[in-house]
Amino acid sequence: MADALMAKAAFYDLDGTLLSCNLVTMHAYYARNDRSLLKSIYQFTKVLLSVPLLFGLDLYSRSLFNIFSFRAYRGMHRDRLIGLSDDLFEVTLKPSIFPKAQVLIDTTRDLGYRNVLVTGTLDFQIRPVALHFGFEEVICNRLEFKDHVATGRVLPPLLAEKEKAHSIRAYAGQEGIDLAQSCAFSDSSSDVPMLSAVGHPVATNPTRRLRRIALERNWPILELRENSSTFPPFLKTVKAL
């Protein structure tokens, strides 16, 4: 009986799951919008040159990819990162939102799930996204600052791979969430630990590797990029009830 009364949550990854942007495109925005044209060109060139390395790192380890991509923020003032976040959202993030992302989020909310965004993206980038989608709770990464200036390091714990699973378990413990009744949505095989931690994992716009894992484990696959895609049965069934 007590279990039946426990709350449930829907945990969402962001990049690749709800929108097509990633950490590199977000940093590229800040690089393009430095204080002067020359600085912008210099910073943007640095981002372009780092793309092959970042691509390789992402294939090897999402944590290493995150650590390396956050280093690009070294020397940036926090005021500027926060001050440009709305523009970042309008210019870069909003146009890349998948057609059915909002419908999915609204559906899980209507079905009584607490929507939680669990993402490796940085806090100042998340705010307008969370407000746009109506997320009330966010678990995300934070940069380290000294005297308001980014050091290029991320504050521990680095939210990626297994750490996402740890975070949602800790969150569930604090909030009385039943993970067996909860669901999670992600596009990446690096989020398999998070997906495995809940009763209803959904491979959402999955990468080739995650698609293979999902098929092996009989997880539903959802394409938010396509308007014609249908939601997994557990969302429909609960709605029908």
């Binding site: 044209l37 003032h77 500027r80 926060i82 709305d86 523009d87 806090d123 009330e136 934070r142 005297d147």
Partner: protein, 536 residues
């Protein structure tokens, strides 16, 4: 949106700290709950920006309060009571509070509205109302007054000086205590740390400087009011012979007089005189609260509430219109404080006065604990302009691109004057060209351009006037108002009080506040009013 993290931003150090925030512990020497229980507060100025938030805070957090008597002025055919229920209670900061409290019926049981006018003796309260209130009011909280920087001198002296005299008489008649809200800028043209301990009677900012004849001058409110009466009478009597409008001469007269004594404007000059009347009244139990520049709410009743043009709103709106050069001190803070912290501060002082454990003067400001330096604000104004003009679909594309991508700059006043001169020379050349074109091509073709030029000139002139008004606070002077008294008094509260009201400017994340709360609040609540007033 709640971000779940164990990291906490330390705005003073500019870095994240781990762990839970230090629990706020009060010594319990003052219990605000007990102090306000079964008490009656008489509130003057409850219809203004600070007044509404104060009203909302006390109704929301201290249900123990017995009665709240609110003075409201009649406006033409609308009675004070009607105005209170139709304008104040329905305003955005009070709506959620009234709903939470159980509706207007519950409020009517607690609130009594009396009609009055600060310009009249005993604040214009009827003898019947006075008789009813005698012996029943514990404390008068005065938030009333005119806050325009440079109105005609009579429009400032009447409410801020004579009005304060009327309040003193009312407080004495009711045998109550007084919390009087003034401004931190009564300090005048000063620099550095401004103490709360400076003696009030006879104060004027230039008192340490020798006067014109080498002798030290002395300031007396009585003498000053004699000057005022004479000046106003002379100005009005020369209406027929002097071509300058009376109103303009009264405005200039007030500013010149304030300047003579060392105050920044007529507002601070008259507010200081009001304080001096209170401090010189024997036997009066009082405290004076001096907020700095009051800005959008941080948390209560909701983040970003703002009203009117008396905050930094004109500057934010100007920044949003693409002003690039800002004359500010590179090493100076802007002394701003969110309105909900001001309301909390006034409540804390009210409790302290009721307990008889108050100090005489309380600064409510932020720079003493958590300064926001002016160049940071200039950068925020630039980023807001970038956002607005990048996404603007109307107007010239070239102008929008310029306003979006050219960064704001910190400049000197000399540089500002030079820029203005260049700009006006350029506009003169355009005007001359258009006038010539009118004679050649005809009025029908050229008049729309001339009208557009006139509108641009008017807008630029308005921006120049606004900026000049703020120069004493951004460039000519650099203030840090000491806030030791409110910090100490807040620490004297009980832990239960501290769950209801907080004085915590040291926790304000200025970047988040300015970008996500204050600027958005101004865009939401002030810009529509500003735009409508400009189109009238």
């Amino acid at each position: 949106m709640e971000s779940r993290t164990t990291w906490r931003w330390n705005p003073v150090e500019g870095e994240y700290e781990s762990g839970d925030p230090p629990a706020m512990q009060g010594t319990g020497e003052i219990s605000a709950i007990e102090a306000l229980s079964n008490k009656t507060i008489f509130l003057l100025g409850g219809t203004g920006f600070v007044g509404k938030v104060f009203l909302a805070l006390i109704l929301d957090r201290f249900p123990e309060l017995k009665h709240l008597v609110i003075q409201a002025r009649r406006k033409k055919n609308v009675s004070g009571e009607q105005r209170f229920y139709s304008e104040v209670l329905t305003s955005p900061p009070l709506q959620p509070i009234i709903h939470r409290a159980g509706g207007e019926r519950v409020i009517r049981q607690k609130v009594q509205v009396v009609e009055g006018d600060l310009d009249q003796p005993l604040c214009g309260i009827s003898p019947e109302d006075l008789e009813r209130l005698k012996g029943k009011v514990d404390i008068v909280v005065n938030l009333a007054g005119v806050v325009d920087f440079d109105p005609p001198v009579n429009e400032s002296v009447e409410p801020n000086v004579y009005g304060t005299q009327h309040i003193i008489e009312l407080v004495q008649l009711l045998n109550a205590k007084l919390v009087h809200v003034s401004t931190a800028y009564v300090a005048g043209k000063k620099n550095g740390r401004i103490s709360e301990d400076t003696a009030i009677p006879g104060y004027f900012p230039r008192r340490d400087e020798p006067g014109n004849n080498g002798m030290r001058e002395e300031f007396s409110v009585a003498e000053e009011l004699k000057w005022y009466e004479q000046f106003v009478e002379e100005t009005r009597s020369t209406r027929a012979t002097n071509p300058r409008p009376v109103r303009e001469r009264l405005r200039a007269g007030g500013m010149n007089r304030a300047e003579h004594w060392g105050w920044t404007n007529t507002y601070t000059y008259t507010k200081s005189m009001g304080e001096q009347l209170i401090a010189a009244t024997p036997g009066l139990a009082y405290a004076i609260v001096r907020p700095a520049i009051v800005e959008s709410s941080l948390r209560f009743p909701f983040p970003g509430w703002n009203e009117g043009f008396t905050t930094s709103a004109p500057l934010v709106l100007m920044g949003g219109e693409g002003v690039k050069g800002w004359p500010v001190r590179k090493d100076g803070p802007l002394e701003i404080i969110p309105v909900d912290l001001v309301a909390a501060g006034i409540l804390i002082v009210t409790a302290a006065v009721l307990c008889g454990k108050n100090k005489r003067v309380y600064h409510l400001a932020s720079a003493d604990e958590n300064p926001i330096m002016l160049p940071r604000l200039v950068a925020f104004l630039g980023m807001n302009s970038r956002y607005k003009h990048k996404h603007k679909t109307s107007g010239s594309k070239l102008a929008n691109a310029w306003k979006a991508y050219v960064e704001t700059q910190v400049i000197t006043v000399e540089s500002l004057q030079a820029r203005r001169a260049r700009l006006h020379r350029g506009l003169d050349v355009i005007h001359a060209t258009l006038t010539l074109g009118k004679t050649i091509l005809g009025a029908r073709k050229i008049d729309p351009y001339l009208k557009s030029l006139r509108d641009t000139r008017r807008q630029i002139r308005q921006q120049e006037i606004t900026l000049d008004k703020f120069l004493p606070f951004m460039f000519h002077n650099s203030f840090i108002f000491e806030t030791r008294n409110i910090q100490e008094t807040a620490r004297m509260l009980t832990n239960e009080d501290l769950k209801r009201i907080r004085w915590d400017p040291q926790t304000i994340d200025w970047a988040d506040y300015w970008v996500n709360i204050h600027t958005k609040g101004i865009e939401k609540w002030i810009r529509p009013v500003f735009t409508a007033s400009r189109h009238k």
